[in-house]
Symmetry: C2
Subunit: 380 residues, 2 copies
DNA sequence: AACCATGATGGAATCGTTTCCATGAAGAGG
DNA sequence: CCTCTTCATGGAAACGATTCCATCATGGTT
């Protein structure tokens, strides 16, 4: 029992294939022809094959979606957002999980290229060189949640060059509706020309010119740090994951002065490594009183490690975690978190990638929210 | 800068396109030709387009994956398993999330059909009628985690007919390696012919003859209930989600006698509904002392509702939850769970769907494990 | 009445691949 | 030396859609 093709419909309706195609894709046709074709198509249960169409138009519909890890519920939510948007557009989504490994990422990009998937949403882990092939092949790429690491910091430009556009952005941010925010161009300080007019509309040249949907890490971290400082904490540690340079940088800035680098530790994407990093941190620096975890898996590890070492939260240790996840409320004490609109991020990214072509998509910066629960207390 | 086609390679290598195709897909060719073609292909950075291939072979490579909700980390893990297997086979995965809504499921199936995706892994929510079109179109379908609801129970056949194959299965289960288990044919009692030879190799006829990767719900639930009974609990409640008839049935069987139906409550897939169901249950039946939650979202809701009502776990209420999720350990007290090998399930399902065609895939039943933590205590 | 504009229509080309089939060469066996 | 087999090889036909282009009819304008 094979599927009916356009030819079958044409024959049954006594018209040419071209006419059928036109009718189905909204071209011009006489009312009676249109009706007859439609009737026959329905009767034969005809569905145009994406295969033929794709080959002819030299592109696969739909979009690719590359995430580090579907087990992480933040990415799960992001994916749900993407899927929701794709569904409403009737487009398929090809998914891949990279485990934060640039090699796997490159492989998956290759696979998508082979499939002629020409639209891609990605939480990137590889650097610009990983992504250039995709762009050169004409893919429309939208990054979500983070950007590829800068290939070469060059002159680090500690603050002044970076601070200018940032503060401008922050100004625009405060008190502005989320909707208006979305039209904002993302201006990242790093890589900006030192002498360039700071207020010029032209964005800073970055190695990769790819639109992105990000959250305002800088402000999220700053809020958290300020909150902790307000509670009297001075030795605040940061536990970071891969591909999160922006957050670390924001943390360094937020604590001000010369940061105590020993209080800033990293892990790769795995649970074990996160646990090891947290546990190591607590043991080498028992004097720390607060911790910012740069991701929900890191937060999980931190809580676990703290419990193992008999550190009571928040009495001995205050914890703020990035990402609001369902279990944050279940934890005891319930975790204070920096919430990101994960689902929205996915949805917006999908919108961006689908809209591309009509107008050049602009980047989107979404706000974060500090959700105060019970895991932070005053320094004793 | 367009991609090189097979024609370009053929011309550059001075051979016909047929030869190039043969070389690339491992057909016969003389060593020198093969080498030349390979060299030219590499030099031109040629990658065969999946579009042309798919059209020609009348099928899209890869597989579809339909899940209720990527936010649920059980399904996240399952998806990771599928992706891992697909990656090692170099196959793309088209994903869709159904929100446990048969209508959306049907829509997604239609979309996959349109894409000529002919292999599908699904956690089904629609009934047999939803799935028949896919099967009739020649799709290879493998169900994971659960089966479509039985269309019509007919004569319920309370125990005897169902018990025979089940106990046989259980016998095979105990003390048998997981590898051997995988070759086991899934025999579900419902629908079995009453008078048929019970030991016959021919499986029970079910409305849909689709291979599946399931966990042994019956034994999982039974273990949990026995554990709770051993702690002295007599009024044990069950909180169930959609598409989980097997677990409820298993629960009814495990508690034995005439079950107190008031202690068995359901919710749909949403968090709110789960919370409402749990809260309602606790308030109408304050005499219950233990609860089995048939899924991690249900467990989450139960813990939350219990806390809200000042029920202390495990002092006032013992809780066993289905699915081991990372946060179960973070909860306080850490949750005792029925762990399912979620990732394995996904991986096995993907294997099954990829292997199909060579040999008819058989269903797989994987064991569960009761992981005892701190959420169950003796009845006081 | 001749001409042009408009619009519906179908034939055929096209996309990139696989695969069938015919051709030709070369080697083996009589 | 002829023939039969084997094998590498390339041309061409699919696959199912879209879309260009030519054709034809119709109706309006000069």
């Amino acid at each position: 029992m094979k599927r009916a093709t356009i030819k079958d419909v044409a024959e049954a309706a006594g018209v040419g294939v071209a006419t059928v195609s036109r009718v189905l894709s909204g071209g011009s046709a006489s009312p009676q022809t249109r009706e007859r074709v439609l009737a026959v198509a329905a009767q034969l249960d005809y569905r145009p094959s994406a295969l033929g169409r794709n080959l002819r138009q030299q592109r696969t519909g739909g979009m690719g979606l590359l995430l580090p890890d579907l087990t992480d519920s933040f990415y799960g939510q992001l994916a749900e957002g993407v899927l929701a948007c794709a569904r409403s557009a009737g487009e398929p989504v090809v998914i891949g999980s990279t485990a934060d490994d640039p090699e796997q990422e490159a492989e998956l990009i290759g696979m998508l290229l082979e499939q002629s998937v020409d639209r891609l949403i990605a939480v990137p882990c590889g650097d610009a060189d990983t992504w250039r092939p995709a762009l050169k092949a004409g893919m429309t790429v939208v990054f979500a949640d983070r950007l590829p690491p800068e290939p070469d910091p060059g002159t680090p430009q500690p603050d002044p060059a970076g601070a200018a556009p940032e503060s401008e952005l922050e100004g625009a941010l405060s008190g502005v509706s989320s909707a208006a925010l979305s039209e904002l161009m993302m201006l990242d300080g790093v890589g900006a020309l030192p002498g360039a007019r700071p207020a010029a509309p032209r964005p800073a040249v970055r190695p990769l010119d790819v639109p992105a949907v990000l959250t305002d890490d800088r402000s999220g971290i700053r809020t958290a740090v300020q909150y902790l400082r307000g509670l009297g904490h001075r030795r605040i540690a940061y536990l970071g994951g891969p591909g999160r340079e922006r957050r670390v940088e924001a943390f360094r800035q937020a604590v001000g002065g010369v940061p105590d680098e020993e209080l800033i530790v990293f892990s790769d994407g795995s649970r074990d490594s996160a646990y090891a990093a947290a546990s190591g941190l607590f043991q080498t620096r028992p004097d720390l009183t607060a911790l910012v975890a740069g991701g929900n898996m890191l937060g999980e590890a931190a809580v676990l490690a703290a419990r193992e070492l008999d550190l009571r939260v928040p009495r001995d240790l205050s914890v703020v975690m990035y990402d609001d996840v369902p279990w944050a409320e279940l934890c005891s004490p319930p975790l204070t978190v920096i919430a990101q609109p994960a689902r929205d991020m996915g949805y917006r990214a999908a919108e961006l990638v689908l809209r591309a072509g009509s107008r050049r998509p602009r980047s989107v910066l979404l706000p974060t929210e500090l959700v105060i629960r019970g895991s932070c207390g005053p320094r004793l």
